[in-house]
């Protein structure tokens, strides 16, 4: 249970990091928090000769919420992202999902960008990046590029990153007015990999009232007292798909008032169960995971429809649209 011999490099600048990466493209790995990589090294499932420890690099620890975008530097820990009030206000699904990432002691050290680069289908944050329509900025000596989650994720534990490339930041768009988002998962024990997890982003027509958050409002009503109508729904999954695939369910949910969500829960759960492709293992059979995913999705859908506010839009209203990942999409 000890890593095989290796050399640790501790660059101080991004440029130096990229040079080291280019020099060790065939036998080097980036290490940031190391909370997925070090167990793999300890068990000798991997034995890179060079580790490029980026924790001392300047300029990778930025966390900003601006212009409808949450920009997360490569060194931002899960815990810091989870606790940031501006992040919670811009898109509460990040914090909700992060609370399911391992244990607090792991989240203190592990980084969200590292989790995205690791691309584990049991990981929460690669799915959240995909579900929110996020993207990553990638650098190498050859230049900079921006990849959407879809372009980044190739397969389980596999991304389209070149060996000499470093993800410098991940960008999560904020919720748009009228949107509500939530995440839930079931694990055998607190901190275990989820047996199944679901993230939902629901769009409603209640955009003008989005800024008002009033717990005293009766369930289902907007601030204006009008019942919101669902206009869209997309879902992403943990542990039951090979890559963070997103399903759009607008055709099932559109036009349903939030207080009539009971009429669409079964159809949504059924579409999701057809879409996912879980594997069975010693913890749960594939059928059980499929069933569980439908149950979690149904409960989450009901919760989102009862929630009378769309947090997120308020803090950022008036800002420009999430530009970085959108520009990328339109290219």
């Amino acid at each position: 249970m000890k890593p095989s011999p290796l050399r640790i490099h501790r660059p101080k600048t991004i440029e130096n990091t990229l040079e080291l990466l280019a020099a060790h493209a065939s036998d080097g790995k980036i290490i940031a928090g190391g909370q997925s990589l070090v167990p793999v090294l300890n068990m000798r499932l991997a034995a890179p000769e060079n580790l490029i420890d980026i924790t001392a690099v300047d300029g990778l620890d930025g966390l900003t919420v601006e212009g409808q975008e949450i920009t997360v530097g490569a060194l931002v820990s899960h815990r810091r992202l989870e606790r940031d009030p501006d992040v919670a206000s811009a898109n509460p699904i990040l914090g909700e999902a992060l609370r399911h990432v391992a244990h607090p002691a792991i989240r203190n050290r592990g980084t969200t960008v590292g989790s995205i680069a690791h691309a584990d289908p049991n990981g929460e944050m690669p799915m959240i990046l995909a579900l929110t329509g996020g993207c990553v900025k990638v650098r190498s000596l050859k230049g900079t590029r921006t990849l959407t989650a879809d372009e980044l994720n190739v397969g389980p534990l596999e991304t389209s990153l070149e060996p000499e490339e470093l993800i410098t930041e991940a960008i999560f768009p904020a919720l748009q007015p009228g949107q509500r988002a939530g995440f839930d998962e079931l694990a055998r024990r607190s901190g275990d990999y989820g047996l199944a997890g679901v993230g939902l982003i629901m769009s409603t027509d209640n955009t003008d009232a989005a800024a008002s958050v009033d717990a005293a409002d009766p369930p289902g009503s907007g601030a204006a007292g009008k019942i919101a109508t669902i206009t869209g729904l997309k879902a992403g999954f943990v542990s039951v798909t090979d890559t963070p695939d997103i399903i759009e369910l607008d055709h099932i949910v559109s036009g349903t008032p939030v207080d009539r969500v009971d009429t669409i829960v079964d159809a949504v759960a059924s579409a999701i169960k057809d879409f996912i492709d879980p594997d069975g293992d010693i913890h749960a059979t594939a059928d059980y995971r499929r069933h569980l995913t439908g149950v979690i999705a149904g409960r989450l859908l009901k919760r989102l429809s009862r929630q009378n506010s769309t947090r997120g839009a308020s803090a950022l209203s008036g800002g420009q649209r999430a530009a970085t990942c959108k520009e990328k999409e339109s290219r």
Binding site: L6, R7, P39, D53, T55, A102, A105, N108, R109, S190
Partner: protein, 184 residues
């Protein structure tokens, strides 16, 4: 990166590292692959940090890095440079004068064999700093990353709340009523 000899370096890269542990600075020559947990135990002889699973599941090796609990088996010693490491010895190293968390474990009968205890102590010390009034549920969540195979967790949860009590905050129960089980 100080290298001893070409032959040795080829077999086993080593570096001279500076580590700050429990307020003391150390300069050490260690293999690059050496984990913080092993450097603490073998090079600094701080054997209070216990090594259980070595892949981050059991929590026995938990230490504080700049005050936050982390797994010392999941970080290379070289990567802990320029941070302040606090082990269980840094929290309390005198049986005659235990730290408040340690006293709370004594008061609550929070340990039997003691193997897991240092990981709990470092975890709970940081948690109660952050949440001086933990409910029982919050206390359970806080220690969910630490495994104990002797006691069950009832008395360790009590020790979390007892720590809060000793620090002048309160566990969920002590503010409104006497908690006879944990009060002395």
């Amino acid at each position: 990166m100080t290298q001893t000899s070409a032959a040795e370096a080829a077999a086993e890269p080593r570096s001279t590292i500076r580590l700050s542990v429990n307020g003391k600075d150390h300069v050490l020559d260690v293999p690059d692959r050496k984990l913080l947990s092993d450097v603490l135990r073998q090079d600094l002889e701080l054997t209070g940090t216990h090594v259980g699973c070595e892949h981050g599941v059991c929590g026995a090796c938990t230490v504080q890095l700049d005050g936050d609990p982390i797994r010392s088996c999941l970080i290379f010693a070289a990567s802990a440079q320029s941070h302040e490491v606090t082990t269980v010895e840094g929290i309390g190293d005198d049986p005659e004068n235990p730290a408040d968390v340690q006293q709370a474990f004594i008061d609550s009968h929070g340990l039997q064999c003691g193997f897991c205890t240092p990981g709990f102590i470092t975890t709970i010390d940081a948690f109660v700093n952050e949440n001086p009034h933990p409910s029982e549920e919050e206390a359970r969540e806080a220690i969910s990353g630490n495994l104990c195979r002797c006691t069950g967790y009832q008395n360790i949860v009590k020790a979390v709340q007892r720590t809060a009590e000793l620090r002048g905050g309160c566990g969920q129960n002590c503010c409104d009523r006497e908690d006879t089980e944990v009060s002395q």
